[in-house]
């Protein structure tokens, strides 16, 4: 079915050009980074802008091995998925409780959770760090994961809550009449039905945890245990990192989310779409 359009063919071309220009402007910085990563220090000093004439892989070796980015990437690839699992468990469970269960304190508790969604990490950083050190979890993956889950769960819970709320109650009723316990209902009935939304918050949660900075900065003091994001942020302050080496590091850091995006692209779009409709 051909859609009617508000733009005639002539202007359509202009629009395409305009969009292409936007894309070009958007991609330019990223192109620069990729180009620089293949140049040697000397070539970069002479020609920072053009594609490399004699590309070299030395920067990547430096970034991955000497600057330990590979190690950081592995750290992130271990920590974030585990955190994600915990995060999903907490959000789905709490979301179901708020969305489909009845209890006296539901409204005030939900408002509390909503209220806590906003606060910036900086506000909490010092105290959270003290807490982590009290629990003797500094420098541990567990410390960082707990912090991430605690910080990002309110938002995930809120989204799951709206989703569960909109689900027809008949499903719960039916399961209850079969004598199922709340836990059983949640796991056997609700979770499978909520999969699209769970995928959404999984993507949001993944992005949030992967890119998190302030808490990881404080908790992961031992360089060997740092995340990829932290590694990149710290590189800017380090001695002896020239632009080409830093660019190679950036390319490595960009590779992971980009690859994941390519694989999960449809999901991401669908997910954010669904989230948008929920408001």
């Amino acid at each position: 079915m051909k859609k009617l359009s508000a733009i005639n063919t002539g202007p359509r071309v202009l629009v395409q050009l305009f969009l292409l220009l936007l894309v070009f402007v958007s991609i330019l910085p990223l192109y620069n980074v990729i180009a620089a990563s293949f140049k040697s220090e000397n070539e970069f000093a002479v020609s920072p802008f053009f594609p490399p004439r004699s590309p070299t892989g030395e920067n990547f070796v430096y970034a991955a091995v000497t600057a330990r980015l590979l190690r950081f990437a592995i750290n992130s690839l271990i920590l974030v998925p585990i955190g994600l699992v915990l995060y999903l468990a907490v959000c789905v469970t709490a979301g179901y409780a708020f969305g489909k269960m009845k209890f006296r304190l539901k409204r005030p508790l939900f408002l509390l959770v909503l209220f806590l969604t906003i606060f910036p990490q900086l506000l909490l950083a010092t105290q959270v760090f003290k807490l982590i050190s009290l629990l003797h979890l500094t420098n541990t993956g567990l410390g960082v994961i707990l912090t991430w889950v605690a910080y990002f769960s309110p938002f995930g819970t809120y989204i799951m809550t709206t989703y569960f709320t909109d689900m027809p109650y008949e499903l719960v009723e039916a399961a209850r009449m079969d004598g199922a316990s709340p836990l059983r209902i949640l796991v056997r009935v609700m979770t499978p039905l909520a999969m699209p939304m769970i995928a959404t918050i999984a993507i949001i949660g993944f992005q949030s945890m992967w890119n998190e900075l302030p808490f990881s900065l404080l908790i992961l003091q031992n360089p060997a245990s740092r995340t990829l994001t932290l590694g990149i942020a710290m590189m800017r302050g380090e001695y002896g990192i020239g632009v080409p080496a830093l660019s190679a590091a950036l390319v490595i850091a960009m590779a992971v989310p980009l690859v994941m995006f390519l694989i999960f692209q449809r999901r991401v779009t669908l997910g954010v779409t669904a989230g948008a409709i929920k408001g």
Binding site: F129, I145, Q221, G242
Partner: protein
Amino acid sequence: MIKKSILCLILAAAITAIAFAGGSSEAAPKGPVTLTVWDFKYGPNDAQKPMQQIDALFMQRNPGVTVNHVAQPGEPQYYQIIQAAASANQGPDVAMFHPGAREYGFSDILIDLTPYIQDIKSQFTPASIAMVSIGGKVGAPIKVLPMTMQGFGIYYNKDYFKKAGLDPEQPPKTAAQFLAACEKLKAAGIVPITVGQTYTIDFLLRCLVANDFGPNVAGLKDGSVKYTDPLFRESVEFVKTLVDKGYLEKDGFSRPYFMDGINKFADGTGGMFVGLLSDVGNWKAFSDKLGANNVGYFPTINFPDSKYTDQQVAQGAGIGYGVMTWSKNQKIGAAYARFYTTGDGARIYAGATGALSPNTAVSGFEADYPALKTVQQYLKGSLALDYLPMFYNGYEDDANRLCDRMFVTGELTTDQFITEYQKLITK
């Protein structure tokens, strides 16, 4: 099924916790004692190689000790991490510090090292001992052992001087000569002064202040000397002139000083550079790249009405090691700090990096570096204390932001700058 997934979760969490617990590093240390050392100079492009050598030697001489040397990022992130460690009351055994305000600010997590150096104390210059003593007061606890002494000055490329028609053996001495030299360099198409962010201005100011106040710089602390002094004003205006005339390359202000600015000068961009005396960006770094006979040095610029001339601004101690109060290996930690600051350890470090050691028993650098000879001459002459490490922990950040606003962005007038600058130290 639920039970299984919960079990899996717990297992996963446990594995993670174990894998990351207790700040493990890749070289899983074994042995009865592991000494963890935090360092901001252990980066691969920094002093890592000589330090590895020194560590190996230390471990040889102290069997049963394994050194776990950790590279942390530089200032200011380094001190954020130290503060976090202080907050948790756990962390490394030994950590590198900048003596002065940074050290004094963390005084309560450092142990007093005085009893560990009774026999070698006299080897260190009095200036360095004073600086590593808390509050800068001789007789106060010494909490950091000084590894280097530091200072700032202006290096110049002799080839470029020749090209510009300047005498390479006669660097500019007065303000007027300096401006003329800059003009000639500019005319010859050479960047007069290579810049690396606000550090260049900060270092330059410190060189000029050395001439403004001479040995009375310490008076800034008790108020007997103030920045409102007309000589300081002259220095500020002078630096502003350098910026306005484009002698300090404007494009360099968004370029990091360490190492981009340093590398730019070492690669032959620019006639002059405000560098350091020790560690990085020093006579050795530039001589090795530009040619030992091609690097010249002078400590400061003389103004017609300054009471003092050719003062070399110096810090008694540039960097050093301290031992933390929570360390269970304090004796070994102290021995480690000693090893780096006296005898073979100090020698290896100085020889490899061009650091100037405050330990008089560590002989001067043997090889032939004309630039070093010049530096040493000035060091034997009149020294003026560097004011920056005298003030509070974190002062550098405030000072640099002010310099930014005055010289880089032009938001402040000279009067405003001086007022604010003075306000900072009277807080």
